[in-house]
């Protein structure tokens, strides 16, 4: 089975023998994975198989206990908390499975956050955030508090925030699990749109129709890669 990127492409993400265990539970065992520019990779597996843990490790939110992670050319083992934060606000987009908006900030400011943290002016960041919200159909909710959004709306706001920096790689954990088919399709099209400019998308899902949108499927089972297949 030929998987992985073609040799002329430098991978955006490379996991090599990554293992991680929480207090009692081994969550990842010797996982290796490569993501090339312009690629959509679906990570699937049953509940508790380690998908979210894989995302946290790959995006630099969690240090694995063993193995190496190369993200956008950085060996994450040697990147400190500050540099990772800079990475998050400038070069990667993250959509988590559950709540991720700052409850005290209005939706617009939440979406603008990566830009404001990265030093752009409030006004410029808010203008960009308004555009991003329009893309996900949330213009009306701009001034609402996150608690006033439905689960699906909050997820769309998170997608808008993840895409606002034009990231080179996007990690999305069940981004459409709480959306209806039509809204889900819209969000997925937006997320997949990043590949047009050579960015990659790592899509975590348990929905086969969503997984079928990817170029490659990586299936986890009890923390290890059970099966990997090119769908292209």
């Amino acid at each position: 089975m030929s998987t992985g990127p073609s040799p002329d492409q430098v991978p955006l993400l490379e996991l090599d023998g990554v293992s991680h265990a929480y207090a009692r539970t081994p969550a990842l065992r010797e996982v290796s994975l490569t993501v090339a520019p312009g690629e959509v990779v679906a990570v699937t597996g049953s509940s508790g198989s380690g998908k979210s843990t894989l995302l946290h490790v790959a995006a630099g939110l969690l240090r694995p206990q063993a193995g190496r992670v190369h993200l956008l050319g950085h060996d994450l083992a040697g990147v400190d908390a500050t540099a990772r934060a800079v990475l998050r606000r400038s070069e990667i987009g993250i959509v988590l499975q559950y709540v991720q908006l700052v409850p005290d900030l209005p939706v617009l400011d939440n979406v603008a956050l990566p830009l404001t943290l990265n030093g752009s002016s409030l006004a410029a960041a808010r203008t960009a955030a308004a555009d991003a919200l329009a893309e996900v159909g949330l213009t009306d909710a701009a001034s609402a508090a996150p608690a006033e959004l439905s689960g699906g709306q909050a997820q769309r706001a998170a997608v808008a925030r993840a895409l606002i920096t034009s990231p080179r790689i996007v990690f999305a954990d069940e981004p459409v699990a709480s959306l209806d088919p039509v809204g889900g399709r819209q969000v997925l099209d937006l997320l997949r749109g990043v590949t047009a400019r050579g960015a990659a998308l790592v899509l975590i899902t348990h929905d086969n129709t969503v997984a079928a949108l990817a170029d490659r499927e990586v299936r986890l089972r009890q923390g290890s890669v059970e099966h990997e297949a090119v769908l292209r």
């Binding site: 049953s46 399709r185 086969n208 129709t209 079928a212 949108l213 499927e217 099966h227 297949a229 769908l231």
Partner: protein
């Protein structure tokens, strides 16, 4: 049509005559229409003609004369090749997926790897589902476009149902494999009822065996 390969798989267990084959087939696929005897003999004749099966014996134990058939090496190869090719993800014709999986489960003796069959099938299905989702939804007002779109959605969702069934099958395969392991690890010589090991058997095991 997969009838030839199913007959080959049915013959894997050992030489059989047509009457046995029919009943074995009906037991494998309880949800399908029972095989007609005529079809069994027609298929066997074709298999013999193609060198995939052979008649090994003819017996008449008091009753009518019966011919025993066995699978040839060529037949075995043909079966494995068929298993290695995923069933066409055909939307509504999901039975083929079921057939292939059931046959794979029964053909471990011939070297078939049911897990690999299932995983290959999953990939084939996902590829087809990807194609089905390639085209953009129709412009509003185009009746033919809408019909086409809806037909594709129908196919997509049926393939999704197949995939869920495949996931279940994988899971079942694993638990049964774990079960087999547990069964084989207990010494076969001791009677299961009064042996001391019976008390230490994993609960999953004992539940399975009472079912």
């Amino acid at each position: 049509m997969s009838m030839a390969e199913i007959h080959l798989a049915l013959l894997l267990a050992g030489p059989r005559h047509g009457y046995d084959l029919k009943h074995a087939h009906d037991a494998w696929f309880p949800e399908e229409r029972p095989l007609a005897f005529g079809q069994v003999y027609a298929t066997l004749a074709r298999l013999v003609r193609d060198g995939l099966a052979e008649a090994v014996d003819t017996r008449s134990e008091g009753g009518p004369e019966r011919t025993l058939y066995a699978v040839t090496d060529a037949g075995r190869e043909r079966l494995l090749a068929w298993l290695a090719t995923p069933a066409p993800p055909a939307g509504v014709a999901g039975e083929d997926v079921v057939r292939k999986t059931v046959v794979a489960l029964h053909s471990a003796a011939a070297g078939a790897d049911a897990a690999a069959v299932l995983s290959g099938q999953r990939t084939a299905h996902l590829k087809r589902m990807r194609e089905l989702q390639r085209s953009t939804p129709p412009a509003p007002g185009s009746a033919s476009g809408l019909a086409e779109h809806l037909a594709r959605r129908h196919a997509l969702l049926h393939l999704d149902a197949d995939l869920r069934w495949l996931d279940e099958a994988v899971e079942a395969l694993r638990t049964s494999a774990a079960h087999d392991l547990a069964t084989h690890s207990t010494p076969p010589a001791t009677a299961p009822d009064d042996s001391p090991q019976a008390h230490h058997a994993p609960t999953q095991h004992s539940e399975e065996s009472t079912r």
